[in-house]
Amino acid sequence: MAPRKSAASAGRRTGASKSAKSRSSKSAKPAIGTVIAEFDKEKELAVYREMLLIRRFEEKAGQLYGMGFIGGFCHLYIGQEAVITGIQHAMIDGDQLITGYRDHGHMLAAGMTARGVMAELTGRRSGYSRGKGGSMHMFSFEKNFFGGHGIVGAQVPLGTGLAFANRYKDNGNVSIAFYGDGASNQGQVYESFNMAELWELPVVYVVENNRYAMGTAVSRASAQTDFSQRGVSFNIPGYQVDGMDVRAVYAAAEAALEFARSGNGPIILEMLTYRYRGHSMSDPAKYRSKDEVQKMRSEHDPIEQVKVRLLEKGWATEDELKAIDKSVRDVVADSAEFAQTDPEPDPSELYTDILA
């Protein structure tokens, strides 16, 4: 017994200064994940339009894929729109975004143009990567969007590196690294957690838990399915958030960004969300029931929730919402038209952008 007791107390001693500091600074935070932000009319209309843009864009991308204009892999964000939309509203200038391959929604939310994203999807010269990256590999230095990464989990150390640079430059910015429930089982995520907490880096880790890693339900792949608690052994606080309610996402993001920006180190937000479509275009999603999908769509749809509130509060009429839908469709139709007519990259582009 004696050795065990001494080891335990030694552990407490060595960890004392750090954990005491962690406790004091980290206990002051609000109850993240339980708060629903109050949106005014302007903000409700803004998020409605932004989420609708993502949905219509993704529907159009699916259609263009079906017509053969988009090739390869194409992962749609339909159903998860509230996550990036709520977070984007809580960010300040200079904060960085980085995510995996389900990235179209993040790019649109970051302010990248529908034309540029769609033209990249069709592999055309006016795409954000000049046609050389495609759906999974798109970036915008101007909009602080650092990709668009095709290797599951690889964006987490990269996002931690963005935070390292923020701290190095002491610029007051926070990096937001998105990954999925599938990536949560990659070792490099935990290597990142360790360094981020050790060096108190300003990073918010956002797990978009859409319940399925490709075709594998979280319970079949994860020993601990509460992904907000995956940082416990690194002393990183984490919270579950209703990722289908854009107001809950916004409130959690605002608190988490404030936490990270204030020098408290990393924080994890688990967004409980759902993708309506298959993992990629060729996935029939037979691993879940139609009822399950239908239930999410009819009871928790992130866009429908806002629509109902707007109508109930009298902040918009059906006709006004239709007009928003129309203008969003016009933007998407324009991007699709552009992406089909824009020329392919010049053959000389084969050998450009390899080295500076």
Binding site: F141, F146, G159, G161, A165, E191, E344
Partner: protein, 459 residues
């Protein structure tokens, strides 16, 4: 105007499929997101969702139809106020085939885009007459290079295992913590995959990290971040993003550390477009090329060698001694045979050249210095003079740097060769521990001498 609903492609390779079932009938209204049909591909049965709102005006392809080509019109959707009479009686105009489907023809008809000619690499800067030459170890030269660049640019920092308080596992970063502090000399946990990614992310955000691997054997843990994140980002982003990071550390066999700690990665990294790969031999090259690497806007693999760390060479005492990346150096002039090597391979090449000189064979020894981009013009110019070529390296023989040189010299200077090119390399075995076996596994001077005798027909 009525909207054509087309047979969708539902996988990267699908060309046709079976329209298994219609879930909507003519006259039904649909909203975007509604499932309207099921389609069987060779892989699965997929649901087709409506993209546009409207009323199904006409089902063109009945359910059960097999072999329906992608992009064939399968139904027509009517908008507000439209009726079936709005549907043209003639066959609906075919939607233009996507460019992707047409792609093979024009590409096949066009000549394959030629790779651009390699950019001219400047020669080494002239060292002014009277410049003091200071005997310096490779270890000190590397440290001096980092320190000078860190003094000049606050964005430069070094991170890795034991680089700070321990002063470097091989003492290459000795003194840096004292001068630059813990902000810029960062001890990492033992977490290669993670800190390589953190380094690349920091580089994407505008810093210039020097990421030290305690040895490159451990960098295999980080391979994905080096290749997929660092090397490919500039291309994948159409030139918008890049990662100016230097990955450095000892590479190749040290002494008696056996298979997992004794591998040369020169040819591995040299395979990858988007990387530059440097492997210096002398202290002057180590210093001048590391300074160049830190300033270079591309991801760099800088391969050092534990045994060479303690070797002493003259280094010119200049305020800012920077060498060009991608330029080989004639280490010793000769007319009878060309020996190309790099890194610690140069020790065998040099000794062999000494022995050969005693036999009346004057070898021209070229130190490649940079593996990628490879300075083939300097090699070919020498081969044109000597007609014979031997390459020397410690790495495995298959797909080695030597076989790459041999292939390209054969393709570009075949008529100048008077003998087959011979490649001296490590043996095709994991590095053994036993002293005698380790010695056998590495190349040696006698093998180089024998190879030269063979190509000069003096055996």
């Amino acid at each position: 105007m009525p909207i054509d609903i087309l047979m969708p492609a539902l996988s990267p390779t699908m060309e046709e499929g079976t329209l298994a079932k219609w879930l909507k009938n003519e006259g039904d209204s649909v909203a975007s997101g509604d499932v309207i049909a099921e389609i069987e591909t060779d892989k699965a049965t997929m649901e087709v969702e409506a993209v546009d709102e409207g009323t199904i005006g006409k089902i063109v392809v009945p359910e059960g139809s097999e072999g329906v080509k992608v992009n064939a019109v399968i139904a027509v959707l009517l908008g507000d106020g439209e009726s079936a009479s709005d549907i043209g009686t003639e066959k609906p105009a075919a939607t233009p085939a996507p460019a992707a489907a047409e792609a093979p023809a024009p590409v096949a008809a066009e000549p394959v885009a030629a790779a651009p000619a390699a950019a001219e690499v400047p020669s080494d800067p002239d060292i002014p007459a009277g410049t003091e030459m200071v005997p310096t170890t490779v270890r000190e030269a590397l440290r001096d290079a980092m320190a000078e660049e860190m003094r000049a640019d606050d964005d430069v920092f070094v991170m890795g295992e034991e680089v700070a308080e321990y002063q470097g596992a091989y003492k290459v970063t000795q003194g840096l913590l004292d001068e630059f502090g813990a902000r810029r000399v960062v001890d990492t946990p033992i977490t290669e995959h993670g800190f390589a990614g953190v380094g690349v992310g920091a580089a994407m955000a505008g810093l210039k990290p020097i990421v030290e691997f305690m040895t490159f054997n451990f960098a295999m843990q980080a391979m994905d971040q080096i290749i997929n994140s660092a090397a490919k980002t500039r291309y994948m982003s159409g030139g918008q993003m890049h990662a100016p990071v230097v990955f450095r550390g000892p590479n190749g066999a040290a002494a008696r550390v056996a298979a997992q700690h004794s591998q040369c990665y020169a040819s591995w990294y040299s395979h990858v477009p988007g990387l530059k790969v440097i492997m210096p031999y002398t202290a002057a090259d180590a210093k001048g090329l590391l300074k160049a690497a830190i300033r270079d806007p591309n991801p760099i693999i800088f391969l050092e060698n534990e045994i060479l760390y303690g070797h002493t060479f003259d280094v010119p005492k200049l305020d800012d001694f920077v060498l060009p990346i991608g330029k080989a150096r004639i280490h010793r002039a000769g007319n009878d045979v060309t020996i190309v090597s790099f890194g610690i391979g140069m020790t065998y090449a040099e000794q062999a050249a000494d022995e050969l000189s005693g036999m009346g064979i004057e070898a021209e020894v070229i130190d490649l210095r940079t593996i990628r981009p490879m300075d083939l013009p300097t090699v070919i110019e020498s081969v044109r003079k000597t007609g014979r070529l031997v390459t020397v390296e410690e790495g495995f023989p298959q797909s080695s740097v030597g076989t790459e040189i041999a292939t390209r010299v054969m393709q570009q200077a075949f008529d100048y060769l008077d003998a087959p090119i011979l490649t001296v390399a490590g043996k095709d075995v994991p590095m053994p521990y036993a002293a005698n076996l380790e010695k056998l596994a590495l190349p040696n001077v006698a093998e180089v001498v024998d190879a030269v005798k063979a190509v000069t027909y003096t055996a």
